[in-house]
Amino acid sequence: MDWQSWLIGIVGRALAFGTPLLWGTLGEIYAERAGVVNLGVEGMMILGAFSAFAVAQSTGHPGLGIMVAAVVGGVAALIHAFLTVTLRANQYVSGLALTMFGLGLAGLLGRGWEGIPLRQPLPDVTIPGLAKIPLLGPMLFEGQSILTYAGLILAVVLWIILYRTRWGISIRSVGESPATADALGVNVFLIRYLCVMFGGVLAGVAGGFLSVDYRPSWTEGMTAGMGWIVIALTIFAAWDPLQAIGGALLFGALYHLSYRLQAWLPPELLKLMPYAFAILVLAIAGLGGAGRRRGAPGALGVPYARGEK
């Protein structure tokens, strides 16, 4: 069945390419739900990608590489949290600075590591039993990265935490109305710090996935704007972890198609597709929302100072 193998190929690759987008978007959703925009995703991802590769290559343990990437992403996000939460700096500018810094630092440190294939990439996993289901099995459960499965489970868990637990209420209230949350005894600063750092951890893992799993190698600028797609996806997913799965899959498929269609269209024009599509998707979301920012946390982007107004 030709169309079946075609479909299996598309969905399978969309899942793979959607994985870093999903991880990044889930992290950004949590940061923004707590009221902090972090435009530094691209920077945190590239730092994660480099550190994961460097650690995996020198130790031979790709899993350790991913863990280090998570820590590095978290530390990078800590800078952003300190500047925006404690010093109440402009969130846009701080995030941009983080991206510039991350891209520069990764490029600087990564000089000698370029073009070497990773000796031990993260192994792909086939889930026994589930992979036997016709069509769905090979599409979803055969030869995917463990991070792909983990990302999907994480999305569900994060949705439950956000909407069904006290923590979730605290996070959402901090993003909606920090003064009210503060008055009710919620530690606004702590929650913002934790959410921003959590976002950084996930962005770090997203970057690590790229360099030790998807393309087990290190190239300067290998995130190629994916961090920005993540920020668009956060809006597109209406700050909802479950909707992020759909968004990540859609853009994963788009990235994959931009390789598939090279027989018919020039590769350069195909590569711009995800970016053009991101604008289109947000424009359509804008049309649908009739100008209202659906789902956006009320205090998004606004620093909180105790006792002011």
Binding site: F101, G102, G104, G225, Y275, L282
Partner: protein, 371 residues
Amino acid sequence: MKRVGPFVLERRLAPSRAAVIGVSVLAVLAALLVMAIIFWGYGVSPWHAYATIAKSTLGSRYGLMEILRRTIPLLLCGVGLVIAFRSQFWNIGAEGQLLAGAVAATGVALYSGIPAPWLLPTMFVVGFLAGAVWGIIPAFLKVKLRVNDVITTLMMNYIMIYIVEWLIHGPWKGPTMRGFAYTDTFPKAAWLPTLPLSRVHWPTLVIGLVAAVLAAFILARTRLGYEIRVVGESPDAARYAGINFLRVSLWVMILSGGLAGLAGVGEVGGIHHKLLSPVQVSVGYGYTAIIVAWLARGSPIAAIMTAALFGLIFAAGDVIKVALRMPFQVTGVFNGLILFFLIGVELLMYWRVRLAPKGERWTGKAGSSES
């Protein structure tokens, strides 16, 4: 008012000019300090690094000229971004708008057949328009559909980068370039004149300086400038006053994108004389211009100074690459650091520290009078 030991911290509503300058200098110094640590970590003596940079940039005529030529695109993009930021339009797309100008200028130079004396002026006009068109798409989407301006302007960068890649690999690939991904070299009539023994294409520099002065005039003295400021400082007041957001945003992005487009014309017409890989046409001028504009704090005239500062940093990047054998990415690290420190110390500007008056006692109530 807060009391800390023998000092009192007072809040002020508007920072004084001295505070702004002092705090900005402090930020740059702090970034230099952290950068010294990075040099040291890379195995380069920071003292040697800074001495080499100073000697090869500020210490020679060639170095000074290189600073100047790097300043040109930063100035044009920076002035445009100052205008955009004044209206709270987050134009992160100067990079793409610059490239749009470069593409348009290349099209005119290679394919229009316009006779010599009119060729360069046409390149500038068309380059401005191309940058403006690339800028007004996000403006339209922001006002009409509330699409986030940061994201659209950024995505437009990537789209333009791949359009340039496509042009130089495909339809515009120069037959005389032996397989390299360049267009053909421009005819001599499309080369911008330069100062002797340098790459300073002075007509673009003049345009940049005039643009800074004009932008200052527009912001301070015209109705459009007034509307830009009201939209930026108090959108609610602007709405109440019946200011047309679409009109203001479109004008802002025509100017902002157009100026970046002019920078692109200068780069291909004055330096490269052909269209080539986007990372070579612009080594991140559009992104660095964000810092140029932020450091200028809303003043186009101040952008002349801050553009020169970052011109120096780019020139230093070249020195670091050649003399110290470190990658050019050092500039990216440094730019990020400066930006971190700039916004990090911003809060300082709004506080004044002075000795507490004698006899005044801490009652605990003083803290609540802070507004």
